[in-house]
């Protein structure tokens, strides 16, 4: 996992049809695989011209999402996050 490229989900809370789960915003993970491109649902949902975006499967540890005292910190959550929600990040818990 040391060689992984880490990315963080933006912490924003915009209104509208957003498919980035709130519980993952601000959390850091790594890309499990890249999918797409798919039309941006935030535009598609309102009948607007939708931008094509890469869709990332991002893997998070339970420790990152729920805190270091999560009972099984190394279990993981994978979620599909559109590229415009992701920004480069340092590894979680970096010294």
């Amino acid at each position: 996992m040391a060689k992984q490229e880490f990315i963080r989900v933006r912490r924003d809370m915009p209104p509208g049809h957003v498919r980035t789960p709130a519980y993952l915003r601000g959390k850091t993970g790594w890309i499990e695989r890249t999918l797409g491109p798919f039309p941006n649902p935030e535009q598609l949902a309102y009948g607007h011209q939708a931008q094509s975006l890469p869709l990332m499967r991002v893997r998070f540890t339970m420790a990152e999402v729920w805190g270091a005292d999560a009972p099984y910190p190394d279990d993981t959550i994978d979620a599909e996050i559109y590229a415009h929600w992701l920004e480069p990040a340092e590894p979680p818990n970096a010294p």
């Binding site: 999402v65 993981t76 959550i77």
Partner: protein
């Protein structure tokens, strides 16, 4: 009069439950209104809608069970399924429409479970309609927070040495779990193996049935 004394009991001796009839909800009315408008405006027809409902009703977990059983017995198909489950399912002859499917494989070290925290995304085009509990707030919220407790309530108790991977179906992809193949089935045919593959085992809330159970 026969009903004088036991109005509250059915002939079987059990209490009557109240009917759950209720007026249409807002969204039920909206669905009917939009469906009728689409037909009136000639966008679709009642026959097309019925055909689509029939097509959905004809899909069942048996489709997914056949896919899993083939993955267990055909290594090239297993690799193709893990690489692109939509293409592999279509090549096997299943009409899954535009669905984009990812298959994740349970092994001795990893157990996968699928949830959609935002709504109720489910691989309907392969497995048919989801179970009601899959759409419940409890399943959707708890599976990402305490998956092992949820799995234990389904009767799946995993050792600490197994990593649990929760897959939150948040966007365009749908997911199917390839459960671990039960021991003692080495000489079984794909058709026989498919009978061991339950709906829940393909969601990850169950495991495949034991060979002696069928």
């Amino acid at each position: 009069m026969p009903h004088d004394h036991h109005d509250h009991l059915s002939p079987s001796g059990h209490p009557y439950r109240p009917d759950d009839d209720h007026p249409l909800t807002y969204w039920q009315q909206m669905e009917i209104a939009i469906r009728e408008l689409l037909i009136e405006k000639g966008v679709t027809t009642a026959a097309e809608i019925n055909a689509q409902i029939d097509a959905m009703d004809s899909r069942s977990p048996a489709n997914g069970a056949a896919v899993v059983a083939r993955a267990w017995t055909d290594p090239a198909f297993r690799d193709a399924l893990l690489a692109d489950a939509s293409v592999a399912s279509r090549d096997m002859g299943f009409d899954i429409g535009p669905m984009k499917l990812i298959a994740v494989e349970n092994t001795a070290d990893v157990h996968n479970v699928i949830v959609c925290t935002l709504c109720s995304c489910y691989p309907r085009n392969l497995l048919g309609l989801p179970p009601d509990w899959y759409k419940s707030r409890a399943y959707r919220s708890r599976t990402v927070k305490e998956p092992r407790k949820v799995l234990a309530e389904f009767g799946v108790n995993l050792p600490d040495t197994t990593t649990v991977r929760v897959h939150d179906s948040t966007a365009d992809m749908r997911y199917i779990v390839i459960p671990a193949r039960p021991a003692g089935t080495d000489d079984w045919s794909p058709d026989a193996l498919a009978r061991l593959v339950t709906r829940d085992s393909m969601i990850g809330t169950g495991i495949a049935k034991a060979p002696e159970s069928v």
